[in-house]
Subunit: 369 residues, 2 copies
Amino acid sequence: MVHSFEAKVGIDKFPIIIGHGIFNELISFIKTYNKENIFIICDSYFKKSKGFHNQELSFFNEYNHVFINGGVESKTLPNFEKIIKILSQNNIARDGLLISIGGGVIGDLCAFTASCYQRGIDFIHIPTTTTAMIDSSIGGKTGLNFLEQVNLIGSYYNPKAIFMDLRFLDSLEKRDYYSGICEAIKMSITSDSNMFNRYLEVNNLVHRKDKTILEEIIYWSSITKLKHVTSDFKEKSTRLILNYGHTFGQAIETHYGLYQEKLKHGEAVALGITVAAKLSDLLFNTTNSKNIWEKTNEILLKYNLPNKFKKLGTKDIPETSQLIKNIINDKKRISNGNRYIICESIGKADIHLIKNDEYIIKAFNCLYE
Amino acid sequence: MVHSFEAKVGIDKFPIIIGHGIFNELISFIKTYNKENIFIICDSYFKKSKGFHNQELSFFNEYNHVFINGGVESKTLPNFEKIIKILSQNNIARDGLLISIGGGVIGDLCAFTASCYQRGIDFIHIPTTTTAMIDSSIGGKTGLNFLEQVNLIGSYYNPKAIFMDLRFLDSLEKRDYYSGICEAIKMSITSDSNMFNRYLEVNNLVHRKDKTILEEIIYWSSITKLKHVTSDFKEKSTRLILNYGHTFGQAIETHYGLYQEKLKHGEAVALGITVAAKLSDLLFNTTNSKNIWEKTNEILLKYNLPNKFKKLGTKDIPETSQLIKNIINDKKRISNGNRYIICESIGKADIHLIKNDEYIIKAFNCLYE
């Protein structure tokens, strides 16, 4: 089955197509552009010696394309400059089309480049990872890392279409696969208790990469993220709910640095939402019912996601004092004071002001058990 | 007197304040931001050994600032990178403010940087030249030159306010002064025959830099440009009228190259609108009335602007065949076929398709007399 619907983000409208084998729809869309005016940037994961590596992708060889490494070290100004040069050398015009095939890194890099080349050309996302399908391709945020800061350079820029072909997930490496799933789990905790309970049940289907459940999850994630984004494109209010666990996860990511394998972004999110859950309990849980932290632990374990530092398999573990410092620096940089996203119960999150660091320190402690 | 009005561009609204001595209004506006969260980039023309060089500007010394050379060679990626670094080092946050004080180059560079730093921070234009007040600060176009191409990298991004203080024009060098005035003349030819006739009359007042006439011209230019831009932010239709003479002027600019003194941008516009006028006459002038080309020559002479190559004071004059080649390359790059802006009469311009190069060649010939 194929899910096809219209997204409204800011003043833009564009189609999102989700399914297992949707290249016919993709080809119809692309054919509205002049062939010489189309350029494809693809994660080098899909490269064979002479172009795209499998039969399904081989039609891309007809179009001008380059391969770029999809690792986080690729989201840089030099790669931006490189793509601008390539587009110019290939005479891609203002009414041209840039297509990105890859995970979050390739998507962010290409979307930013498309937003700046000749003041913005048309752009299509073809996300190939759970992270990109569930989270990064939706919402129009583009970015480059610079000065060791995530997305210090970036823009808000919507694609003309997003094509999510689930076949890309078949070959996705296990840690990357679950890292992306974590973003869906996170959204269910803040926004949809029914879906949270469903995630608790379907973990075995997800493990098997069952097509139907993956399409359901990715469709649910897309529309849930869009609900937060549509009315708040530039992140002034409701969109901030999506940052649940973000402050804590980012403080941990800052410790490990941008370019390493110890901690994937989705794993940092897992640790971040564990801390956020603990903090939520400290502030709101006055009953004897099963608390948010316990439920968060339960679901993370079902999806092979870390809920404690010892799960990371490294002896390099940050001290709480360092994490608090990172948070203070981060909050200063984004000038949002002491606002945190807190859950009153599963499915119900809001922004709260927390002036007392003691709560934060206590919340972090749960990662050290 | 002070002109103060609200501009609507795309989905944004912001104030434009025009007058002789308007820093009180500017200071009131700036004070709505946290002082540590404000950064000023200023053309180094205004630098003395220890900061801003005259008494009126000295209050800027209270704020964090750097000076950057305002020449066209500054609109580069390395300067973009430099400013991003400076903003980050000064902990300018997402709700911070970048202020640009300078001509078109500083304005374009800063506006682009503001549009990308942390996905966009607030920005104020303080244009200091006729070109920046009449043309470049209005309309939200930002840009960097790259690979010898003007604005190959850029964005559409509106400021939060524009403050045009006419005192800056007192010290403006003569060629730069008239280059900017040329943009106003150009708009009158395409859009307002009454204003064109007024420009024919007031040249002596403009020569003397009379405050009242400058305020009138800059106010008229602002609202006229806004009329073209408001409903067509991303240049799909009416905004293209502003490109009258642009194709020809740019073909000439391409010959001389980006970084030279032989030809200022406004002077290229002057030559460009001369060719456009000739072309308009070739297509439309069937009467014996004074034609557009004659009228264009008349007004350019009154404002010390070139209407022929020999006025440039250089022996390096491009051949027509080269200019035609440049146009073909340019048209290919922006993929707009053979569309040209043509005037049927002074004050009335439209987009026309011209498939026959002979008309273009004939029109160019008027520059060689």
